[in-house]
Symmetry: C2
Subunit: 169 residues, 2 copies
Amino acid sequence: MPGDPKLPFDPIERASELWTKHIGDPTSMRLATSIMRVQQLIIAELDAALKPYGITFARYEVLVLLSFSSTGRLPLSKIGERLMVHPTSVTNAMDRLEAQGLVKRVADIEDRRRTFAELTPEGEAVLAKATKQIMSIDFAINGLDAEQQDRTYDLLRSLRSSAGDFSEG
Amino acid sequence: MPGDPKLPFDPIERASELWTKHIGDPTSMRLATSIMRVQQLIIAELDAALKPYGITFARYEVLVLLSFSSTGRLPLSKIGERLMVHPTSVTNAMDRLEAQGLVKRVADIEDRRRTFAELTPEGEAVLAKATKQIMSIDFAINGLDAEQQDRTYDLLRSLRSSAGDFSEG
């Protein structure tokens, strides 16, 4: 974690050696553990980079998604679906973003049960600055060139596909 | 998320296309996003597999670490360091595990400020069953053979190393 004293050895390699000694093949254990660790490192760096703009990466993702919509708005249900997060998480992110004046909720006049989210001009301005900032740190992806990044992405995509993350091949 | 309706397309690929169209090179964005998604999938599957044993993966990791110790006990501070988690997380995990009778806290007679964690016989029994269960699902790593898993591990290790996760090379 940021701020922790750095260990003079790789704790996942160490765990891997101990696993081999006490239990057996460490292949899947060390990969699972390292995915969780890399996720922690990335989210911590992204959240820190976005802090000056008053948003987290989870809220940044909502802003980006809205900006990609051709109509400038999306139903809340679609936001959860696309970001693969629970409806409660979308509600929480929306509450914060709305309180900050970065998005607004708009009732669907054709279907009163449905609510749209819409970027405000202030939201667009914050999004532009946040995107610049996040691109300047390369989305917290360090130490891999573009080709290695694509290779990692493809390997993780096989994993997502096998876990049933989406239904096309 | 488990239980969510499966999308007929890969939302990260879709986000990647939209990013290319509206912003630019999607390489690091889609890798960062997919690492976060894979982490979600893995932790959900691991936690579900461990549910019958009354523990989460975070608590399972504490049990494993204690079982690897040659003395059968570890100072709480070392647990946090090795699992790369905040001291508060160790305290929470220990509180739960102790209430379940799977570990116990033991005062260090040489240094009263220090507390050890120790596996109970019940903790050892649960750990053995949990490990069997988790190995049977290959640590929730699906769709990659051993060679691909090692390749992914090595790529992510470069990323961890560059992010300053440990100080040796």
